[in-house]
């Protein structure tokens, strides 16, 4: 194991073990809290919402991020570096601040609605925030930089002579895109999609601030059991279930990467 791995293990493992211990250590040592959690409607509803939001946010981010990555791949190196800074710009701002900024942009009398009202000369109040749309906007804003990087790496790894060969053989740009670019970028797409999906499973602030009542995700439920009900066995069980789900997605990815290497 490398030193970096050792440090990560030393930092992550003790609290994780503590959470596992808390999850089985309610009034007595048992798996009751897991059984109660899995049976409860609250958990099942929230789990479903978590998968739907994480899945749709990931796919949406992939579609938008792919376009960005494609554009970046076609730029000369120097210009690409400059444009990369713009892609990474959202990382420089706290997610909390971004969420409040989005409420100003997306609100009923926010920038978008005011602009539309002015263009169409009538009062327009599209519901863009405190609902699923707001959550997805916030999530895609957060995820796009994370998907652009692996996809861009895949695109840059494509040997440019393949493009030349394809075009010499008479392939039109659309055909080159579908038969060369897309299949050859799949490794990056696949790896990026899976990692942003796993990352979005644990989102907490975005659904809490930009979502509506039905956009609560598992992390919000952990917070609820942890701070409001003070039922730490349940809060820990949910965390461990969430951790297990994330592991179930990420472990195959690691194995696949190792095999490829």
């Amino acid at each position: 194991m490398s030193p970096a791995v050792l440090i990560a293990v030393a930092i992550v493992l003790p609290p994780l073990l503590r959470i596992i211990y808390t999850s089985v250590h309610g009034p007595a040592l048992s798996l009751t809290s897991y059984a109660e959690v899995v049976k409860s409607n609250l958990f099942r509803e929230t789990l479903r919402t978590t998968f739907i939001i994480a899945g749709s946010a990931s796919v949406l981010s992939l579609l938008l991020g792919f376009i960005v990555a494609l554009h970046l791949a076609r730029q000369p190196a120097q210009r690409r570096t400059a444009l990369m800074v713009l892609v990474l710009l959202p990382f420089w701002t706290s997610i909390l601040v971004k969420c409040f900024a989005f409420t100003i942009i997306l609100g009923r009398d926010g920038i978008i609605n005011s602009l539309l009202s002015w263009i169409f000369d009538t009062r327009i109040q599209l519901p863009l925030v405190l609902n699923r749309i707001g959550t997805l906007v916030g999530m895609t804003n957060y995820l796009i930089p994370l998907i652009v990087l692996p996809v861009l790496a895949s695109l840059l790894a494509i040997d440019s002579t393949i493009y030349r060969a394809a075009s010499i053989m008479g392939a039109k740009p659309a055909r080159i895109f579908w038969t060369v670019t897309v299949p050859m970028s799949l490794p990056g797409v696949f790896a990026g999609l899976l990692s942003i999906f796993v990352m979005s499973l644990g989102t907490f602030i975005i659904p809490a601030l930009l979502g509506g009542r039905r956009d609560q995700m598992l992390s919000n439920l952990v917070d609820f059991y942890n701070r409001q009900v003070l039922d730490w066995a349940k809060a820990s069980s949910i965390s461990i279930v969430l951790f297990g789900i994330a592991a179930a997605f990420i472990i195959p990815l690691i194995l696949w990467r190792r095999r490829k290497a």
Partner: protein, 354 residues
């Protein structure tokens, strides 16, 4: 020698290892000297904390020489964690009566010697471990520029009347106060509210659910949603936050109805095993002194617990005081919520998601 080693059983090894691991926490907990010159208090942050520092903490330190450290967020989870690890750093906890009553049920607080306090002067009496220091009134707020007289709900049955007052509303993300409101709206007489008829309360809430734009976590959010026009009417847990919108720098001024309110008290408690217990009790007693109460409530715009402090308030502040004898209003029953908060919170959360 060999024999001695073999006698170290797995159990005693684990015990030893555990105490070695726990040692830093224990050592840290005993760090504070018994006669220290400080105490630690949980603060909400924001404007409330700033006012508390100016009107209570600073003069207290000047008078007694005891320094008050403030750490963020009055959160029972933090209290539970400190008690569980034996690493108690907090002395005085502040929270709404329902919250501290629930902590009391779990044995989080020290029992207090009530002879320390002038009980005669207190509008609401302390329990064995929680001392109220102010009263607040929750109620309906709106933007008077958008909704003139008669165009907005002023009591809870009107707040629940979507036909007469259509529009987007906020509700608290917590069941306490919200279910009381629902029952009042449904025509239950204020004196018959407790024990809450949960089924009836949820049925009443079903009616307004489609109009609820936000289930708010904080009063700040409830106020700002109404100020930006994101919602039309809002339930605000404390009237003083609406008073603040009418002061310079408060943004869009909102109006607040005192026709019907949910009244509650904010309480102070001392953590079990608090490192500076004596200072903590002195601090709580200081909080209740009529002159301190008058100073704090003048700045805060809330209702003092000390009866003697009431006539000391300026007229402008008194305009924003709820009528505690209003027969339409209901006082939150902390004892009820101490027993039911957990179960009802889960039901409420499930109901919100469905």
């Amino acid at each position: 020698m060999n024999n001695a080693v073999s006698k170290v059983s797995r159990r005693s090894f684990l015990g030893g290892a555990a105490s070695a691991l726990a040692a830093p926490m224990v050592i840290r907990a005993s760090r504070a000297a018994p006669n220290s010159n400080s105490l630690t208090f949980t603060g909400y942050g924001g404007s409330l904390q700033e006012i508390q520092i100016k009107t209570v903490m600073n003069p207290f330190t000047e008078e007694t020489g005891i320094k008050v450290n403030i750490i963020p967020a009055p959160d029972l989870a933090r209290v539970k964690a400190q008690l569980l690890t034996g690493n108690v750093e907090l002395d005085v906890f502040e929270g709404q009566s329902a919250l501290t009553a629930s902590g009391s049920k779990q044995g989080f607080w020290e029992k207090l010697d009530l002879s320390m306090f002038d009980l005669e002067d207190m509008a609401v009496k302390p329990t064995s471990d929680a001392v109220p220091y102010l009263l607040f009134a929750g109620g309906i707020a709106w933007d008077p520029k958008r909704f003139g007289p008669g165009k907005h709900p002023a009591n809870f049955s009107e707040y629940f009347d979507l036909v007469k007052f259509p529009g987007r509303r906020t509700f608290s993300n917590h069941p306490d106060a919200t279910l009381e409101m629902a029952l009042l709206a449904d025509g239950v007489s204020p004196k018959d509210i407790y024990p809450l008829d949960l089924d009836r309360a949820f049925k009443a809430l079903d009616r307004v659910k489609p109009s609820v734009a936000a289930w708010v976590n904080t009063t700040t959010q409830a106020v700002s949603l109404a100020q930006t026009g994101e919602v039309d009417f809002t339930y605000v847990a404390a009237s003083n936050r609406i008073k603040a919108t009418n002061e310079p720098g408060g943004g869009v001024p909102l109006a607040f109805s005192f026709e019907q309110n949910v009244l509650g008290s904010e309480t102070l408690t001392v953590l079990k095993g608090a490192p500076n217990k004596q200072n903590a009790i002195k601090f709580i007693a200081y909080f209740l002194r009529p002159d301190v109460q008058a100073r704090l409530m003048t700045a805060l715009g809330l209702v003092p617990i000390s009866k003697k402090a009431v006539p000391m308030l300026p007229a402008e502040t008194r305009k924003w005081q709820p009528d505690l004898k209003n027969p339409q209003s209901v006082f939150i029953d902390a004892a009820y919520w101490a027993d039911h908060l957990d179960a009802v919170s889960v039901r409420f959360k499930e109901w919100i998601l469905s």
